[in-house]
Symmetry: C2
Subunit: 492 residues, 2 copies
């Protein structure tokens, strides 16, 4: 069918083609059917939406991924992409071959799968799992799509945390230590998707984080390290698509998690990697057994990709720093580098840094590098190379001016700090978009508290956001205080 | 956030709320996040799409299910519906409780689930299955939503085919026989979704099929039967939603299939039901073992709902009538009632009708009712009651004027007739929208053919559609002819 293509913005990353209902009927196109769109001999695929008003007969409305297509096009019904058959195979719990996984990954990357089909793939992997072979294949094909960073140095040190813990901003401290030791550590990080702050959001408080691959090379050449946003260099674009299905369902199937992490590490040419696996109630991995199994799989798939992986299984049931939110976490990071800051954050950073140094065969002490002020010096060089102010100190960073402190309403001890509730609360204050918004935690688990002792403070940039967070806080209990006796025995 | 609601038509059944990117950022709303929309004290839920152009700041674009909301609204971030937790539970292969399934069904009906979440539910049921208890619960909750037809007669006879066989239009013949026997058979049928003709499409060639519940009652009171479109009376609206996820994936998980069929039968108050389960290569159920297991489950869930179910396991590897497409199938139906027509169609209709008569305790012979002309007479009364011309005959029905016959290119026997290929081909000719389009089959399986013998004829309403179908026909082989020796032994 000959149609006139026009651009339509409905804020989707799907290549939708809006057809007038009458045209769609004539074409026999149901919602979610795929159509071939041909123009001047080149063809692409779109997903049909039917509309009575938005486009008139004879017109095809193209959404963002297709919106460069204008003028006369030939639209015909296209078949279902081959990968849908393989998704069904996975739903049937049949092991996929390399080429089959490759087809799925390519179709996801080329936006050929609808939300229904993408979700079915993620659900199938969650329900039936991926074998080690399948995980290797998925990782390999995912890393082959997207940009690559390469280096004329060796080794390339890297660190990753599988997340789920609030205020766990150890990465900038580790990069400063490792880069100062003489090793190369070009760290790419994510922005928050469902959390109140990703490492990239925290660094953005201090400097730029979005650079081209050439600029990243220059920064690393000058400073041995960098702390940039991975999304700026499209390292594993398929990962972002998979997240679109994982997030609404709050699932993170093991095979996809491993492929997502290691495909990115392969794209930045990491050779020595330490993975932080926090476990515990409320963390992504809830048991020690599951954490160990995940660690083993990471190592095996790493070996296949020639990445030497070591895992640090850490306790993840409570926050590491005081602050949650970009500015508040940046303040903790600087405070530790300046010689103070939250003790847990310092200890965890030093431990992971030591592990990475040893893993790369470097004989140095993370504590020495921090205590001598050299880590702070190196961090300032990196901030400067990323167009930030190298002279900023922890005290310069001001939390959001609108603040409320929540106090203990009883005597007792802190029996639980709920990562997820803190995360939800911090987002309600406006983090990560309002960078100075977030939460400061005043008490650690097992600490004794008296009536009226401060438990945590909400910070927001505007009174309205503070009110919203206060309203939510009334319904939650992110820091739970119980009488000593109640704390010891759970009666039910 | 205070916004001004406007209606936007983007042809979706999802309750999307289009927010300007800046507003969405301020609200902290990611794509697929849910928002509460409050107006004059009543609240509803929408799913966020972000857009730069379609709505300006301060405006919220409401799509169809919400488009009656206009003017000032208060938009706030809403949590994930509870049912998503139960979907995850099903993905974890944990049996769902009654209340959990009820929540899922209500959320699907209220349009609270995104495509990703809906697909995850269908995928989870496919991968992990539903227990018999779960299937009962799903059926019960599905039938409680939507309209009900009730009768002051007993028994209420009904028949269903789980589909997958082309040209299998036995239903109008059975209804005519059973209604003539004195039983009540108010039959609701579907229109084609992915097939070239549903029973409702076939009947629409002869009369109206869309009626209110009151009108249906009148038709049944006058004639003992009806042949109407079920979609016109919203009998099991959740079923239509589930199909949205099942179709793109070409899956039809057993538990959902059973719930879908029986919830509709319960909504029309059927008491005695015969279910046709065609099995064989290319049919929905491929093996006899699977067909028997499905039959047992249908009977068990039926008992729970006080519907007396009998199943007819039939051979479904090849078409039953000559014609595929609304007009061509209507012609076969009339021909059988007139005493001729395809032998297979007559035999299958008589067998199923006899089964249903016996199941309802009526001592009558389907063959007698047809051969005496009484079935035709009853059928004409139903057609007249549904505003059709009662005097129409098989010969009056003209297939599409644009036609091409495909001939055998070798001597041999017909070894296979491929339902799916015939279905695809018939749709390409324009069926079901072009009601006279479709296919006439000239040869049955195991028949001998000579070079040049006609195998099948494509009918279309326009030359363009015929050309499209011809092009597809060149790539397919829906009626496979092999030399006799090759047909006996498959060499591989």
């Amino acid at each position: 069918m000959q149609l006139e293509a026009i651009a339509i913005d409905i804020g989707t990353s799907r290549p939708l083609v809006l057809l007038n209902t009458d045209d769609a009927d004539e074409l026999g196109a149901q919602p979610l059917d795929r159509v071939h769109i041909e123009q001047d001999g080149t063809a692409t695929t779109g997903i049909v939406k039917r509309t009575d008003e938005l486009v008139t007969r004879g017109t095809a409305g193209m959404t963002e991924p297709l919106h460069r297509i204008r003028g006369p096009v030939d639209v015909t019904i296209a078949g279902t992409p081959r990968s849908v058959r393989y998704v069904r195979k996975k739903l049937d719990d049949v092991e996929l071959q390399f080429a089959e996984h490759e087809t799925i990954v390519r179709d996801i990357h080329d936006n050929r799968l609808s939300d229904v089909e993408l979700s079915a793939y993620v659900s199938a992997v969650y329900a039936n799992g991926l074998s080690l072979e399948e995980t290797k294949h998925l990782t390999e094909t995912m890393s082959e799509i997207g940009q690559q960073l390469t280096w004329d140095r060796h080794p390339i040190a890297d660190k990753h945390s599988i997340g789920g813990v609030a205020g766990n901003c150890v990465t900038p401290i580790i990069v400063a230590i490792v880069a100062e030791s003489g090793l190369t550590m070009p760290k790419t990080s994510s922005r928050a998707v469902t959390s109140p702050a990703g490492t990239a959001d925290v660094m953005e408080v201090l400097c730029d984080v979005e650079f081209t691959t050439d600029e990243i090379t220059d920064i690393v050449t000058a400073t041995n390290g960098c702390l940039v946003w991975g999304g700026g260099v499209e390292l594993s674009p398929v990962d972002d698509e998979l997240i679109r299905a994982e997030n609404p369902l709050s699932i993170d199937p093991k095979g996809i998690l491993i492929a997502s992490v290691l495909s990115k590490k392969r794209s930045v040419s990491s050779t020595h990697l330490v993975i932080d696996i926090p476990y515990g109630e409320g963390a992504k991995v809830e048991s020690l057994v599951a954490a160990r199994a995940l660690a083993d799989d990471f190592k095996r798939v790493g070996t296949h990709l020639v990445i030497d992986v070591q895992c640090a299984i850490t306790h993840g049931a409570e926050p590491i720093g005081y602050g949650i939110g970009p500015t508040l976490e940046a303040r903790d990071v600087l405070a530790v580098l300046e010689g103070g800051g939250p003790e847990e954050l310092r200890l965890k950073s030093l431990e992971l840094a030591d592990m990475l140094l040893e893993h790369c065969g470097v004989d140095a002490s993370a504590a020495d590098i921090v205590d001598s002020g050299r880590a702070l010096e190196r961090f300032r060089r990196i901030v400067a190379a990323q167009n930030g102010d190298p002279d900023v100190t922890a005290d310069d960073l001001e939390p959001g001016p609108e603040a409320t402190t929540v106090h203990a309403d009883r005597v007792g001890i802190v029996t639980r700090i709920d990562n997820r509730q803190l995360s939800d609360l911090a987002r309600r204050t406006g983090a990560p978009r309002d960078s100075a918004a977030g939460i400061v935690i005043h008490r650690a688990i097992r600490e004794e508290v008296d009536v009226g002792d401060p438990l945590y403070t909400l910070h927001a940039e505007t009174p309205a956001k503070l009110t919203e967070a206060e309203t939510l806080a009334e319904r939650l209990e992110p820091i739970r205080v119980r009488h000593k006796t109640d704390a010891l025995v759970e009666r039910r």
